[in-house]
Symmetry: C2
Subunit: 266 residues, 2 copies
């Protein structure tokens, strides 16, 4: 009889649990990454409140935060909307990421023994047989790898900014680890970068890292567009028989496009 709970909170009301707003924040963010909330989708605070069991106050705090981080937009008095996937923004974020990580390499190679690098080597410089193959697992390791490069600079503010960028691009970047040859490439490139770092060949490390990020960016873009195209086709097929006239006069433009229009689909 209740509405279908896509995510429920089920929270014990014992004392010092983390703030409810924080739980809702994480719930909604996970839903975004899992595409349970689709780009372009509109929803209300009331909906999220009912789905999570919280009241509008903490929900609102969570949504406001997600909006400030670029995931959502609040429309005057007419609801919230999941932001479109905008590849021009992702390109900007990949550039920021490159800038930060290259600067980190500069600082790492100046240190005699950069913090945490040996641990990274133990993960990435392994025989092929010992490599992980699961996409989500490698994706997590990949984020940790790049995260550690920045953390090792010992500059928490730089790290904080990098973390923010990582979260922004996660929604598309995770798709890069659904193809096995991309996982292989990640292993190879990470291993090479670590070699260059431990041997204090800073310029080579930077060159390798820049190429690594750029290749990943291009791959992610390609895969994302492919997946979104598929998803759109599925939606079209499903929607068509039920709603044959729902195509607007604008020639098949969906009311909620999954991606913002792109000129060149490199």
């Amino acid at each position: 009889m209740n509405p279908p709970l896509r995510f429920g909170l089920d929270r014990r009301r014992s004392s010092d649990t983390p703030a409810l707003a924080e739980l809702v924040y994480n719930q909604v963010k996970q839903a975004l990454f899992a595409f349970e909330l689709l780009p372009g989708e509109r929803f209300s605070e009331k909906t999220v409140a009912e789905l999570t069991g919280a009241s509008r106050t903490p929900v609102r705090e969570a949504l406001t935060r997600l909006a400030r981080e670029g995931f959502l937009t609040v429309q005057n008095r007419s609801g919230w909307r999941v932001n479109d996937l905008d590849f021009s923004v992702f390109d900007q974020l990949y550039e920021v990421r490159t800038i930060v990580e290259l600067a980190s390499i500069d600082r790492l190679t100046a240190q005699t023994e950069p913090y945490g690098i040996t641990e990274l080597a133990a993960i990435w410089q392994v025989p092929e047989a010992d490599r992980l193959t699961g996409g989500p697992a490698v994706f997590t390791l990949d984020e940790q790898f790049h995260n550690q490069l920045v953390a090792a600079t010992g500059n928490p503010e730089l790290h904080r900014i990098h973390t923010g960028v990582t979260e922004r691009i996660r929604i598309v970047r995770q798709l890069d680890f659904t193809e096995s040859h991309r996982i292989e490439a990640t292993y190879n490139e990470h291993a090479a970068i670590l070699s260059a770092i431990t041997q204090h060949r800073g310029n080579e490390a930077k060159r390798l890292l820049q190429t690594h990020i750029e290749l990943s960016r291009q791959s992610v873009r390609k895969i994302s567009l492919h997946r979104l195209y598929e998803a759109r086709e599925r939606m079209r097929e499903r929607a068509a028989p039920l709603n044959p006239v729902s195509e607007t006069a604008a020639g098949g433009i969906r009311p909620n496009p999954l991606v913002t229009p792109q000129e060149n689909l490199t």
Copy 2:
């Protein structure tokens, strides 16, 4: 009979005015920059609500945002606190700033005619007689100068990050423009940087910019500590006659230090 209004809002309830939370946010932030809210000071949401005339809801939203930006801290159920001035954090932010602006120079000098650079030249490359001398005015121009360097890259996300850093360091950076020789130095160094950029001498521009930021950082640190020492002395003098026994047993440590302890005061 009312409490003294340090800042009042006086808001017309006409339609599409900006959100009340945003107004409160700006009010409080200005109060922080003006040292009307001192580092270490504690206050409650109720106080701010009464001072601004808003209710707790938008106040809370504003304070939460300021906390996320690093200005405030909320203590469990016992009020808000203005964060201490932590020079180790400022050093980190100055380093982030340097990284971002150097990367911007790289991108600027690759362009044939970087956007907005001629406008900057018209401001900074002027005869000494035409230079502004007012501290606040030059401070504003200084922020605009560095801001424009990043904006000209055409990367809004990079720009957004730089803006955030600028706001974080503003509270101490503004003090750099209270000394005339620092204003002179700013004019000279900005002019030189612009020359190097327009002549596409990227490496020289970067070297000049890095030195410029580093000198500013050191100066700001020196001036800030000096000012805070003065302020603390004033507080001590004023507090002493009224509250002679308020010094705790810890040997004169103030309960709310204006700065976190620093080992080396370079």
